[in-house]
Amino acid sequence: MAWTVTAAKQAGTSHLRHGEGCADAFAVRTGDGVLVLAVADGAGSARCGADGAEHAAGRAANLALRETDLRSVFQGTLDSLLEKVGDRPSADFHTTLLVAILTENTLSVGNIGDGWAVVRSMRGHGALRAVAAPSRSEYANETFFLTSRNALDDAVYEVVPAAGLDAVALLTDGPAWFSIDLETRTPSAALFGKLFEFAADGSRPAPERDEELARFLASDMVVRKTDDDKTMVLAVRDAR
């Protein structure tokens, strides 16, 4: 089972304007017959949101290598984050967390907050769809976090067969703004078509691909659409 992964993040212009860095994080791990992708978005309101996101994405990806039940992965991640938080308020470390575990047979996605997982199915003739799409909330800038009460219950979980899936994308809410029609919840076929085509070119070294994706996330075209932090992880199945 071989996948080519390209990933990048960029600070939002609103964060840069206020002298802040990027509070998004991502992690990619490969194990025996398993690929794990994770993205996390530290809350703008949280003092240590970036730390929370970094810790959550990394720890969740590590745990998911040996534990395929996403609720257990989230619980383990939360426990270790709370240990790191110690006596400080856990709200200071508010972060969303989206994890995808790809094995030979299944893709399992768990979503705490407002991230998006988009997959392409060759059995559906290249149709795109969101897996474990975030639940709708009334307000644009309000979501819930790993450290929120009942987060593991409020999380969205979905398991789909891996057969036929040839591309997976994980995003924080920043890129969702320009890649998904949020009213109909439809991913842009034109955009993901080009992103996946780009990410499938495994002949280029990974750092070069990552840099190109990072440049795209900082491009004028994207920045005109969103001033939020942006993270994208693209995984494309290698041709056999």
Binding site: S14, R47, N141, D181, L191
Partner: protein, 225 residues
């Protein structure tokens, strides 16, 4: 070779700009006459000038004004701050705060309905209530106050009560369960509206996850002793 320079604007998904609505509920009763109303008017003008400087705020922030002095009046329907022109308010009459609160909540509800109809995402509305007195319309009070608290508890709005010199702060404390009332330092309307412009601008920008860190209120709020 498939590079990302192949991507053009047309490939991106199109979503309507999210809106950040703000309701100002202003006491313009007799007691606000003279210098207080002048400072309030000057403050509104500062708000207009400052918030229009931020490109993103112009696209996203919306403001509406309800005044109460003699009667409750919708002095400004919801408009984008780009279109907002500060009115010159006059002080007159008693303090029908109850009916003003009802009018403000009805106006907010209608605005949300319109957002939903048009598939527009929006942030939780803010309602600033600025007064130097207490309601003089017992027929609407305390029902309107209870409605305001209920609306806030149901996450329909965030209320910020602000007292001008002479205000009954104990009474204002009953208008929000989220925010303790702040007392305006002297007649620091200019500083308040500068702060409001900054806060609105920040609330409208892409902050993941709800309540962001509000700028410090020390320029206009009296420090409790």
């Amino acid at each position: 070779m498939a590079g990302l320079d192949q991507i053009s604007d047309q490939d991106l998904a199109w979503n309507r700009e999210q809106r950040t609505p703000c309701m100002l509920l202003l006491d313009v009763s007799d007691s606000m006459g003279g210098q207080p109303i002048q400072e309030l008017n000057a403050g509104l003008k500062i708000f207009e000038d400052e918030i229009k400087r931020d490109e993103m705020a112009v696209l996203r922030c919306e403001v509406s004004l309800v005044t109460f002095g003699g009667s409750a009046r919708l002095a400004q329907e919801f408009v984008s701050v780009g279109q907002f022109q500060a009115p010159v308010l006059e002080a007159t009459g008693n303090t029908p705060m109850g009916s003003a609160i009802n009018l403000a909540l009805d106006t907010l509800r209608a605005r949300k309905d319109s957002y939903r109809q048009h598939g527009i995402n929006y942030t939780r509305p803010w309602l600033f209530l600025i007064t130097d007195g207490a309601p003089t319309d017992p027929e609407n009070w305390p029902a309107a106050g209870e409605r305001l608290l209920r609306e806030e508890r149901d996450k329909g709005v965030v209320v910020f009560p602000i007292g001008v010199e002479g205000a009954d702060m104990g009474f204002l404390a009953r208008l929000s369960s989220l925010n303790p009332p702040q007392k305006l330092k002297g007649l620091a309307f200019a500083q308040f509206f500068r702060w409001l412009s900054t806060s609105q601008t920040r609330a409208s920008s892409g902050q993941a996850g709800g309540s962001f860190q509000m700028p410090s209120q020390q320029d206009w709020a009296q420090v409790p002793l």
